[in-house]
Symmetry: C2
């Protein structure tokens, strides 16, 4: 299939592009390097330099013999986006092209405005371009489990049947997200759902949990093909960041009581989920929603797992319980459904001690590059 990967330079975008290419799909990867620019501006560089997207595609071709087309530009620029559809008629597109950091979106007004503007208008342009140029194209959109927040009832897979005063109706499962970033994903879902109903678009919206990992089947042992790996509070997700903190001897930063529970998944499982979604398209007029994670952990449990892995490597890992800078429940019910992707064929990887140790060992190779002064960012939700 011909697959357009928007945000193809990102932590997920580049591994996804290689993975789809390895599985015989024709990939065009598109990015405007917004993520690179912002992490540089914030002095939040990744653990190691990664080549630019053109260079990455060359390296991938040298390794695999397969080519990935690259275009650099901003999909909020209509002419650029329309041009992509002019030269590459995608069967599917993966829309990763959003500002992805929750703390960045809460940092100040300018960062919040950039996040809202970029994420909502990018999604709007994608919808319009598909309708105008490729109405059969399947939109695979990255949402987040964070759209749901932490309600006191079971989280179903995107939808809920409500019985109320003797009548019934199926609705989008109600959303209540925990940051502006997560809220922009709620707005995206609302926009997609409206245009699916109105124009009969085919959309898969993936409610993903936090991802961990660095190596995939495509880049294993080949550092030049690794994705960004951030470890600061702005851009680094919790498991990756905790592992770096452990290696650096920087106490793990647990916010508040640490009972915050989320659904996590291995980077390799993200790639499977995206590929399975692409290879099994939604129907015309269908907004198909999957909850994309493998297992749930509380922050305290993750901290204990990282401590245990540290012990096995002869590292003593401390934990520092900080006042919570976020506005969130620190102890809560959490029972989200996640069967749809398993039914499509997902073979999940689990966060075993072996996996933890393997990641920790890779990070140890980069120990000298870790800048501990960049980790703590103190972005408070209520500034």
């Amino acid at each position: 299939m011909k697959v357009l990967v928007l945000g193809g330079d990102g932590y997920l975008g580049w591994p996804t592009s290689m993975h789809l290419s390895a599985h015989g799909h024709e990939v065009m990867a598109v990015d405007n390097y917004l993520r690179r620019r912002l992490s540089r501006e914030e002095d939040s560089e990744a653990l190691f330099e990664v080549p630019n997207l053109h260079r990455r595609a060359q390296l991938w071709q040298e390794k695999s013999g397969k080519s990935i087309a690259v275009r650099v530009g901003d999909i909020c620029d209509w002419d650029f986006l329309a041009g992509l559809f002019g030269e590459f008629r995608p069967d599917a597109l993966i829309h990763y092209a959003e500002q992805p950091s929750a703390p960045y979106s809460m940092k100040n007004r300018a960062a919040a405005g950039l996040t809202l503007q970029n994420n909502v208008m990018a999604t709007f342009n994608v919808i319009q371009a598909v309708h105008e140029f490729a109405p059969e194209c399947h939109i695979v959109k990255l949402g987040t489990m964070g759209e749901y927040g932490t309600p006191n009832i079971d989280i179903e897979e995107g939808w809920i049947d409500i019985e109320h005063k003797g009548r019934r109706q199926k609705f989008l499962f109600p959303r209540a997200a925990g940051s502006l970033y997560h809220t922009t994903k709620v707005l995206d879902t609302d926009l997609l759902w409206f245009y699916v109903r109105t124009w009969g678009l085919r959309v898969t919206d993936l409610m993903q949990g936090p991802v961990y990992g660095l190596e995939t089947y495509e880049n294993r042992g080949d550092e030049s093909l690794y994705p960004f790996f951030n470890y600061d509070e702005l851009w680094g997700t919790v498991i990756n960041r905790f592992l770096v903190q452990a290696v650096a001897g920087y106490p793990l930063t647990v916010y508040g009581k640490g009972g915050q529970t989320r659904g996590y998944l291995d980077l390799r499982d993200t790639l499977q989920c995206l590929r399975l979604s692409v290879e099994h398209p939604a129907q015309a007029g269908e907004l198909r929603i999957f909850n994309q994670f493998v297992e749930t952990f509380s922050v305290n449990t993750l901290a204990e797992m990282v401590q245990a892995s540290g012990r096995r490597h002869g590292i003593e890992v401390k934990v520092n319980n900080l006042p919570n800078p976020r506005k969130e429940l620190e102890e809560h019910y959490y029972n989200p459904a996640h069967t749809g992707l398993l039914e499509l064929g997902l073979q999940p990887h689990r966060l075993t001690p072996e996996r933890m140790d393997e990641m920790l060992s890779v990070i140890q190779r980069y120990k000298d590059r870790i800048r501990t002064d960049c980790i703590f960012r103190n972005v408070r939700w209520n500034r």
Copy 2:
């Protein structure tokens, strides 16, 4: 109280500004004339010219002895908005400053993009400005009953308690709007709800139905103080438009089966609802939602009521059933709650034959100004 009326030049904004002024509030009315510009561009001029906002305020002062401050500018421009808070510390603000036409928002990509961009970023700026400059200021936001769509269960007043698998949670009542315009109001609600939870803003979100009418207690018999009165399919709401069509001998344009049912209210009741909301503020950290309408009618019923009024004026009114250009249910369940504003003291006006006849008589004075070639616009939802 000091009240900032954003969108103070509009069909609701100007009557609201006068009404609050008449009731002793200190009003600053703000507008960027977007609505005037768009209706001119679309050749959808109102039934009569209205003076500009500065001139209107002068006329109001001459009539009432009360002053309304006027500022012309765009609240999507942060510096302009911040400047308003610098010179006028509002106790409350009314946020009407959005592109208000559903068909306009479905006309083409440019109109859709303008609607989304303007409405979402205006609301974002309002939230940021209140948080930064006047955190106690009560935001009274105009939403729409259209946010809910037409679900098969009773529509509650903004919120619903869901019992699911033996557990309970209160959620925003799920939204599923019928146009991009209505969807931008859903996005606004999501944004407001996020920042209410996070920053403790005080917000009243008014889910309003279509408004009809022209004369209020403040402008009665004084044409120079009338609001815009549009009668085309882009800017004219259904009752106003049907009355003009009746006077002009232009058959009433009923879409599809005509069973589409909505909650309507008299312009004078909108003013009461806004004033009551302002005078009884929401609590800090409260998103208070009211369903703002007085009675429900189907389109067929409205057409019959206009026909009857026509007969009483010696006019034969025809009905033309057109293929529905919209995507909507033409026969559906509709039972929305609307008790909150009555409890605050709303004294509703009903759409009696007398009221209908009164409006028809006013419009008859302008019969020569009606341009029947502007009425039908053929904006199809699925272009």
